[in-house]
């Protein structure tokens, strides 16, 4: 049996462990800001990554196309049934929109919490050791992406930007265990019922919406959207649907379980919502980022 560790190796190992602990402590301190070397590494690796990922997305896209073509007939039948109601709804929507513009004109209010400028981005990678729900997208500060902006797919909200470098951004998905991840949301019903999305129940795979006033009449099946009152997200991004309502631990406020509208696996194209109104640091930002002043566009 050879000696397991020679003296020299033992010293290298010990020094290694010390350096490791020091580095972990150093980088844990401030994970939401990347310093210049980190930014450079992220941008360079991100560029290489997108060279590999984009062809992969193309291939998976092809396979999915073939897959959808196989059940086109069934789908077509189903969609035709829905199309009839759709036309009526479309007409109503156009009417309501026109009415909205007119009324806004009367009260002389131009700004809208709902207005946002979408930035299209491609998902280039997902954190391979999936302890944290993080994805990396190929747009960064040069494209206008900033920390704490809402990220969504066509189906609904999926997360928010937690770190951005000039050419990449890291997005934390809403299905995270991180308890600091809050979204100011509201349940759409007869009235607007405000609350906060706080936390994710891993076993049932549902979001938990807390701090709903107990006078609110929240029912199963109601839609939940972002309220825009958190300061950074625009209003009206679909989050999900209420599946269960109960009271919180102290019985003072209501608590609702929400089934997310978006799916979090096989993400490829996402949209970042850059809201047009003034951005302030509220619940959406976890009161962490610096307030952006009056930089409205």
């Amino acid at each position: 049996m050879p000696r397991f560790f020679s003296n020299k190796r033992l010293i290298i190992l010990l020094v290694g462990v010390i350096v490791l602990v020091a580095l972990i402590a150093f980088s844990l301190r401030d994970r939401n800001h990347a310093n210049v070397p980190e930014q450079a590494v992220k941008d360079v690796v991100g560029f290489g990554q997108s060279l590999v990922t984009k062809p992969a997305h193309f291939v998976t896209g092809l396979i999915e196309n073939i897959d959808t073509m196989l059940n086109t007939y069934e789908e077509n039948k189903r969609l035709k049934k829905r199309l009839e109601t759709y036309a009526a709804m479309q007409a109503e929507l156009v009417d309501v929109k026109a009415n909205n513009v007119k009324l806004r004109g009367i009260i002389d209010k131009q700004e809208d919490l709902r207005a946002f400028e979408p930035i299209q981005a491609t998902v280039i990678s997902r954190n391979p050791d999936q302890w944290e729900e993080k994805i990396i997208i190929d747009k960064g500060t040069t494209a206008g992406v900033d920390v704490n902006m809402a990220v969504m797919t066509a189906q609904g909200l999926i997360g928010k930007v937690i770190l951005s470098t000039p050419f990449t951004s890291t997005v934390e998905l809403i299905s995270t265990e991180n308890s600091d991840f809050r979204v100011a949301a509201m349940v759409v019903g007869e009235e607007e019922m405000f609350g906060l999305i706080e936390g994710y129940d891993r076993t049932s795979r549902q979001l938990i919406m807390k701090r709903l006033d107990s006078s609110f009449n929240v029912k199963k099946g109601m839609q939940v959207i972002s309220s825009g009152l958190g300061g950074i997200f625009p209003k009206g991004i679909l989050i999900g649907e209420v599946t269960e309502v109960s009271t919180d631990d102290y019985g003072l406020t209501k608590l609702a379980y929400i089934k997310p509208a978006a799916t979090f696996s096989k993400l490829d194209h996402v949209m970042i919502a850059k809201r047009s109104m003034t951005v302030v640091d509220g619940t959406d930002g976890g009161n962490s980022a610096t307030t952006k002043g009056d930089d409205e566009s």
């Binding site: 462990v17 980088s27 990554q49 998902v123 990678s125 999936q130 302890w131 990396i136």
Partner: protein, 173 residues
Amino acid sequence: MIRFIIPLIAILLFFLEPIFSLFSPIEINGNLYVTVPRFLIVYLIFIATYYTSKRAIIYGFVLGLLYDMYHIDIIGLYTFMYPLICYVAALVIRQIERHTVTVMVLSVVMIVLLELLSYFFASVIALTSIDFGEFFTSRLVPTMIANSLFIVMFGYMFKQITEKRFFQKQAGF
């Protein structure tokens, strides 16, 4: 030519891992199974076995550092774990026969070790709150199965490439 192929494959695997993790978690019968792609470490173990362990440790260190900076934002986890796994693999392989199958089995064992280490660190710095039982069923076992498939598919190719480079180096290139 083959001189550049060894690091090129390592870089390619480094870029392939996050693409495969986009398909995870997999849902079977309403349960979610997380499969973590560990392609790079398998390749590094083959390098450590058939080429030189020193080279494997250097690649492990550099790519581990990139992994930490790009994906995890905590520097020091994979920078430490990749070289450590390569070192342990090199120590073990010295004691046993270098048959392709034994190296494949060793790779699976090392992936388990890496997963355990990664679970340990994630619990210590509070990235996760799952208990060991759940970690074992929903993460460790699916990861082992998925990576075993990868090893069976590509293990022999890795052996051919690394061994070829080793003989080339012995011949004095």
